[in-house]
Each structure stands twice: as structure tokens, then as C-alpha cells.
């Protein structure tokens, strides 16, 4: 009898225990998600800026025609489907019906066409893509036709890009903005904009009439999006120690960009969940191809020959879980595009070769002006270690530490520097990646590379694109377009009660809920 009672009790306990566990896994609506961000967005107009934080905040508000699945390939979002005709030169995109903007109006082609045109005219990604776009027209309220000058393998990738993305705005908002930034922040997303109190917060609230897709979330960014939280507060907290302390005490549910050396501490805390955002970006040094010492290819080759990437990346990130020494231009996670073929000059650790190349180039100890910043400590730390390695190979390096605002201005002036530090965040489309563009600071405009890029932009077959990437990588290392140190991952910390949250390379909070 006694034994039976105990067994019953144990069964009961198990049942309830399991019940509690599944209750925690059942999404619950309500609450306010508080996210501690590194700062303020410079704008809330996604067409205007490539700043990552603007994408992170605003793509809860705005949506794009396409987005990416978990393999980072484009899938429809506001689009229902599309048909390609005329040898790949005409895309007829059918829009989803009954999708409402936050102002209550239906989204139609009358909004989509001017949005795409504005994006193609204003955004960096859009402009790159629009070179091949001949016209965009509305066929009927729910059909948009894009006419291309030549077939494009990048069009859907570009339309799905979160960063500086092709957000669909209501036509009136764009008309009111004219040539300037939009003044009303209205989209079709699961959250609507409520208020922006600078240095205090940006408040978003659930959009009750949100038209979610019917397909299940796909592990990437596509499929059904649900706003479980009543509100999201994006709070600018510039001090990293305060972001971490705040998430520890429960003031915030999420803190971004925490120093990797705090990883063990966070792992040991029962209330916190450490998150590695992988992949995230490269850490890189960009040589100036236009003028100065680095315009000489042999000197660039000497630069890359001298480097030992492991200590450089270790100095940048500290903890091994947050970097990998990887020379390929696209990430192993981008299975369609990742390849080691052509990665010939990465991690050479060969100061003797560097010295010989410098001699061949007739380098006479002219100082190499390297501009970097401490505002992103990984930029400064990598520059510092690389400088020592370069000096050991016979370079003279003049490391100039600037604030970020000065750096981003000076790098546009070829007469002011030879190398600058930066990072490249993930680009889903190889042909649109900033890391290989010619019109961007550093001005890597090598002929063969431009030809490959041109072909890649037109190529729609992923297999053929991969072969082009392999050729591109070979040119990248032979000509030393940029110097890639390695891949880095960022560290974000969430509280355990924030559930259903993914540490994706593009931050988002839809489908995440608070368990208490």
C-alpha cells in the first residue's frame, strides 16, 4: 500500500513536472521585452543608412518583399510568389493580399513600386542592384513587374537584404519625405512604432492587425512572425558593463555586444543564457588601392605574408568560442557559397617572404599610415598585433587612433591613409557584399575581379556562382583586395525567461516571448 502511494506520488510529480516544462515552452502573449542596445540609431529610415542598429530596430516595423531562410537564401515575405520570364529579364511578383500598414491602409503595388524606386535610388545596396534594373511597374494592385537589362542572380537577395533593406513604406509617407528622410515610421511588420525618446528608448507595440504568413517559421527569417510581447523597448546603453549588469539583475531581457571574456561568468549564472551570434562578420584591414604605399601590389602581398592570424584574432576576441581563423570570403554556414578553393594567401606567417617582397617592391621604410579606432576595441587590438608582426617583417607602421566618426570620414579621402580597420557583417549575396565592391573606401577595382563580379551578378545558377566565388577568392588573395584576419562572432546575453529567441546574425524579437 505504502509503495503504491509512493509510486502514485512519483507519477503525479512527474506529470506535473512535465506539465510545468511544457507550460514554459508554450508561447505566452504579453509583457514588455527590454533590449539593451549599444547606442542610438542614426536614423529610422532603413533606405538611408547601412548602420546595423537601424536594421536591428526597424525591421520589426518594416518588412521587405523577400527575406532569408536559415540557409540565407531568399524566400518570399510580403511577396506571395514570382514568375521569371524573358530569359531571366522580367520578374513578375505577386503581392500578398490583405496586408495592412500600421496606418490601417492596405499595402498594394502603389506603395511597393515607389518604395523599390526610392530604395534603388537611395540605399547603397539598392544602387548597386539598380544598375541592372530598367524599370519597375505596377501591373495591377497586387502585381509588380521588374524589368531587368540583363538576368540577375542577385535581385531576390538584394530585395531580401535586412541591412539597408528594401523596406516597403506607404506611398504617402514617402511623398511627404520628398528627398529627405521619412518622418513617419510606418510599415507592415508585427510591431508598430510608438515613440522615440532619444537616449531613453524606442518603443514598439504589437500591431494587432498584423497579417502574418501562414507558413511555419523556417528557422531563418521567413515564415510566420508573431508578436507575443505587448511591447518592445530598445534602450540605448552605451556602457558594456551596465548592459551586462542590467541583464543580470533583470532590468533588461537582452544585452548585445558583451565582451567575450565575460562568457564563463554568464555561463555560470542560472538566470542567464549566453548567446554566440554565429556567423556575424569578418575583422579586416582595408588597404588603399588608389594611392600611397599600399597601391603597390607587392607591398600588399608583403603585408598579408607577414601575418599570423591566430594571435591577431585572439587579441581581438579573447575567447576562442568567438572567432575562427578562416580565409574564405563567405561563411561555412552559407553552404551554397562557402569554399576553400582559391584561398591561397591566408595565414602565411612568413616574415622572410614579406621581407623579400618588400625588397622587390623597393620599399624604403615609408611609414604605412593605418587608421583605426578604440570605439570598437577589436579593431584597435587587431591593428596593434598586426602592426608588431609587420614591423618584424620590415614595415614601418604609423598607427593612428581616431574616433569612429573621424575614421568613417577620413577613409573616403585616399590621400589620408594607407590602411583602415573595419568589419564586414554578413552579406547573403556574394555579388553585393561590401567586401568586394570597387566604389567603397579602399577602392579595390581590379579588372579581373570586376569581370567576375559582373558575371556573378548575372548568374542565377548557385553552382556556377560557387565556381565564380572560387575564382574571386583566388584574385582576392593574389591582388590582396582586403586583408581578412578571420571570422568573429558577437556575444549577446539573454535572460532565461526570454524564450523562443534565436541568436541570429540579424537580431529579431518576433516569435520570442516572456515566460514570466
Amino acid at each position: 500500500m505504502k509503495r503504491t502511494a509512493i509510486t502514485l506520488l512519483a507519477l503525479l510529480a512527474l506529470t506535473f513536472g512535465a506539465g510545468a516544462a511544457s507550460a514554459q515552452d508554450t508561447p505566452r502573449a504579453g509583457g514588455v521585452i527590454k533590449a539593451a542596445m549599444i547606442g542610438e540609431p542614426p536614423s529610422l529610415d532603413l533606405h538611408w543608412t547601412t548602420a546595423v542598429i537601424v536594421q536591428q530596430i526597424t525591421w520589426h516595423i518594416y518588412e521587405t518583399l523577400y527575406t532569408y531562410d536559415k540557409n540565407l537564401t531568399p524566400v518570399p515575405m510580403l511577396a506571395e510568389s514570382h514568375a521569371v520570364a524573358d530569359g531571366g529579364r522580367r520578374y513578375t511578383i505577386t503581392l500578398r493580399k490583405n496586408v495592412k500598414f500600421h496606418n490601417g491602409k492596405d499595402m498594394t503595388s502603389a506603395d511597393v513600386v515607389p518604395s523599390l524606386q526610392r530604395w534603388g535610388k537611395m540605399s547603397t545596396t539598392g544602387k548597386a542592384l539598380w544598375k541592372t534594373v530598367e524599370a519597375v511597374e505596377a501591373k495591377d494592385p497586387y502585381t509588380v513587374v521588374i524589368h531587368l537589362k540583363e538576368p540577375s542572380g542577385s535581385l531576390l537577395y538584394g530585395l531580401g537584404s535586412p541591412n539597408n533593406g528594401a523596406a516597403i513604406y506607404p506611398k504617402d509617407v514617402m511623398a511627404a519625405a520628398g528627398e529627405g528622410q521619412i518622418k513617419e515610421f510606418i510599415g507592415t511588420g508585427p510591431y508598430r512604432f510608438v515613440e522615440h525618446k532619444p537616449d531613453r528608448h524606442i518603443k514598439l507595440a504589437r500591431f494587432k492587425e498584423y497579417a502574418a504568413r501562414s507558413d511555419a517559421p523556417d528557422g531563418g527569417f521567413g515564415g510566420k512572425r508573431v508578436a507575443y510581447a505587448d511591447e518592445i523597448l530598445f534602450i540605448p546603453v552605451p556602457d558594456e558593463a551596465v548592459r551586462l549588469a542590467g541583464v543580470e539583475t533583470g532590468e533588461y531581457h537582452y544585452a548585445q555586444t558583451i565582451k567575450p571574456d565575460q562568457y564563463e561568468r554568464v555561463k555560470g549564472s542560472p538566470a542567464l543564457e549566453p548567446g554566440v551570434v554565429k556567423p556575424y562578420g569578418w575583422i579586416t584591414a582595408v588597404p588603399n588601392h588608389k594611392q600611397g604605399v599600399m597601391a603597390n601590389k607587392k607591398i600588399r602581398q608583403a603585408f598579408v605574408a607577414a601575418l599570423d592570424m591566430e594571435p591577431i584574432m585572439a587579441a581581438a576576441m579573447g575567447n576562442k568560442a568567438f572567432y575562427r581563423t578562416e580565409g574564405a570570403l563567405f561563411y561555412p554556414e552559407q553552404t551554397a557559397f562557402h569554399s576553400q578553393s582559391g584561398v591561397t594567401g591566408y595565414n602565411q606567417k612568413n616574415p622572410a617572404k614579406a621581407r623579400a617582397l618588400l625588397k622587390e617592391a623597393g620599399y624604403k621604410g615609408e611609414p604605412v599610415r593605418w587608421i583605426t579606432t578604440k570605439e570598437y576595441d577589436w579593431m584597435y587590438n587587431t591593428a596593434l598585433v598586426a602592426k608588431q608582426q609587420m614591423e618584424a617583417a620590415g614595415f614601418a607602421v604609423d598607427l593612428q587612433v581616431l574616433d569612429w566618426a573621424t575614421l568613417v570620414q577620413r577613409r573616403n579621402k585616399p590621400e589620408l591613409y594607407d590602411i583602415f580597420s573595419t568589419g564586414f557583417t554578413l552579406s547573403a549575396d556574394p555579388a553585393l557584399a561590401t567586401s568586394v565592391q570597387c566604389n567603397w573606401p579602399g577602392w579595390w577595382c581590379q579588372e579581373e575581379k570586376e569581370r567576375i563580379l559582373g558575371e556573378m551578378l548575372r548568374e542565377t545558377d548557385p553552382k556556377k556562382r560557387k565556381a565564380q566565388i572560387e575564382r574571386l577568392q583566388a584574385v582576392f588573395y593574389e591582388d590582396v583586395g582586403r586583408v581578412k584576419f578571420g571570422d568573429y562572432f558577437t556575444f549577446s546575453v539573454t535572460r532565461k525567461e526570454l524564450r523562443g529567441f534565436h541568436n541570429a546574425p540579424f537580431l529579431y524579437f518576433w516569435n520570442a516571448w516572456l515566460s514570466k
Binding site: E40, T50, T249, A405, T406, Q409, R410, F424
Partner: protein, 314 residues
């Protein structure tokens, strides 16, 4: 008197013009520009140039300067490039936290500093005095941001008594507002109290050596009356001067403390405006500060006039 006041007020105009011009030129001499910051890290040179045009930053500096004067004459400080609102509005939004933080810190500084100084002087050269002054030395040496971070760790993270950061406005409730300001005011005020304690102590010591104190004591006054009624009253004057200076130091300290505790005040406004080259905001805040100092100076001069009949202005 009236003529004097009017003359002084008129003199403010050229001062402001100089400040406006100098701040305009200085912030533009700094490298970096707002367009590159707005455009973001992956923008091309062309994108940045387009933004500069649309922000009117491509015009020649003298043209921009004259426009700035013109707006000033109409009492318009311009619009913030990043905050998408008039500079004056941005400044007024940030007044409350900074004023409250400064006031509370001042209270902490005086409430701790003056008694510590008096006690130290009274027990001159004893262990009490030496330990208090040792604390004051630590207080003078420790940077306020470090004290702030240590307090966050101790009271916020370990003990969980106080919020680690953030600000609750007065409209959110008096207690919540106070709670969000306790740690920042202590971090800022305690460091300043060290200075006040040292000044109070030395001026008390001077006064305690005066003949009239000796006279008071010899006629049998209690030590308490001697110290608090006779000595302190006279010794407090240099302290008052220091409290005035402290006010300026507190405003400077608020810039740092507001960043550490994530308080959206004037200090944060200036820092972020400088970092992202929000020219109109930097100019506006500098102008406002200059105006405040000029006004305080004028008030002090007028107070002299009222207090001391020997002073006559012509």
C-alpha cells in the same frame, strides 16, 4: 542701477555672438562629419556626398555661419541632425534628469562634507580626524565613474537593492524617480563631499584659533555652542564659495555619471552629440551653458550691490 543692469544685459549680446561663432568653428574643425555617421559603415563616398547635400553641409562654411547667425537672431537654435527635432526641445527634454541629479548630488556633498569637516576640526589630530581625512583623500582621488561602477556591482548586482541603470522621470512617481537617482547622486556627491570636508575643516581650524573663540570658551560657553553657533557661522563662508564652484564641477561630473548610469540628461546629450557630430546640438548646448554662466555672473554682481553698500557701480 537700472542703467547698469541694462548696460550689462546689452553686453551679453557680443559675448553670445563670440561664443556662437567660436563653437560653430570649433566643432567644424574637428574631423568627422554627421553624414558619414548617418550613412553607416557600408555606405560609399557618393552616398555620403548625397547626404551632405541634403543636410546642407556641402555649403561653404561662411554661408552656413551666416545662416546660423540669422537663425540665432530669431531665437532659433536649429534642428538636431540625428534627433529629428528642434535643438531647444531636445535640451528641455534633458533638463529634468540633469537638474535633479545635480541637486541631489549637491545635497549629498553638503550633508556629508560639512559635518565631516566640522567633526574633523573639533577632534583635530585624533584618530577620528585622521580617518575622516583619509576617507576624504580617497574621495578626492577616486574617479566618480569608478565609484559608480563599484556601486552598481555592489548595490545593484550583488545586493539587488537598487536599479543598476536607467532613469524614471518624475511623472513616473516620486519614489521611483528617487530610487533611480540614489546611486548616481551618491557617486557624484560623495566625491565632491571630500573637497567640501577638507575646506570646512581647514577654515574651522583657522576660526577655532581666533581670540573670540578663546573668549567664548573662557566665559564658560559649552563646546557645542562654541563650535556650532560661533565658529561654524564664520567658517562656513569659504565653504559656501567652494559649494558654488562644486556646482560647476557637478555639472561636469554629471556628463560622466549620466553615461555610466544611463541617465538621459544634458551630459549624455552633449557626449552623443559630439561623438556623432550633431553640430546644431553641440552649438546649442554650448551656447546655453555660456548663457547660464553669464546670467549667474550678472546675478552675483547684482547681489554684491544689494549686500554691500560700499559697492557702487557706475
Amino acid at each position: 542701477m537700472l542703467v547698469y543692469v541694462v548696460r550689462r544685459l546689452l553686453a551679453v549680446i557680443p559675448v553670445m555672438l563670440v561664443v556662437a561663432t567660436v563653437s560653430f568653428i570649433l566643432i567644424r574643425l574637428a574631423p568627422g562629419d554627421p553624414a558619414s555617421v548617418i550613412a553607416g559603415p557600408y555606405a560609399t563616398g557618393d552616398d555620403i556626398a548625397r547626404l551632405q547635400r541634403s543636410l546642407g553641409l556641402d555649403q561653404a562654411l561662411p554661408v552656413q555661419l551666416v545662416k546660423w547667425w540669422g537663425r540665432l537672431a530669431r531665437g532659433d537654435l536649429g534642428d538636431s541632425i540625428f534627433l529629428r527635432r528642434p535643438v531647444l526641445e531636445a535640451i528641455f527634454e534633458r533638463m529634468e534628469p540633469t537638474l535633479l541629479l545635480t541637486a541631489w548630488s549637491m545635497l549629498v556633498a553638503v550633508a556629508v562634507g560639512v559635518p565631516a569637516g566640522v567633526v574633523s576640526a573639533r577632534y583635530h589630530n585624533t584618530t577620528v580626524d585622521q580617518s575622516l581625512m583619509a576617507f576624504a583623500l580617497i574621495g578626492l582621488s577616486i574617479p566618480n565613474f569608478l565609484l559608480g561602477l563599484l556601486m552598481i556591482l555592489f548595490f545593484g548586482v550583488w545586493l539587488g537593492w537598487l536599479p543598476v541603470a536607467g532613469y524614471v522621470p518624475l511623472e513616473g512617481g516620486l519614489w521611483l524617480n528617487l530610487r533611480s537617482l540614489i546611486m548616481p547622486s551618491l557617486a557624484l556627491g560623495l566625491v565632491q563631499s571630500a573637497l567640501i570636508a577638507r575646506i570646512t575643516r581647514s577654515s574651522m581650524l583657522d576660526v577655532l584659533r581666533e581670540q573670540y573663540i578663546l573668549a567664548g570658551r573662557s566665559k564658560g560657553l559649552s563646546e557645542r555652542v562654541v563650535i556650532y553657533k560661533h565658529a561654524l557661522k564664520n567658517a562656513i563662508i569659504p565653504t559656501l564659495t567652494v559649494i558654488g564652484i562644486t556646482f560647476a564641477l557637478l555639472v561636469g561630473g554629471a556628463v560622466v555619471i549620466e553615461t555610466v548610469f544611463n541617465i538621459p540628461g544634458l551630459g549624455r546629450l552633449i557626449i552623443s552629440a559630439v561623438l556623432r557630430r550633431d553640430y546644431p546640438v553641440v552649438q546649442g548646448v554650448v551656447l546655453l551653458i555660456a548663457l547660464t554662466y553669464t546670467a549667474i555672473n550678472l546675478l552675483v554682481d547684482l547681489a554684491y550691490l544689494a549686500i554691500d553698500p560700499r559697492i557702487r557701480f557706475r
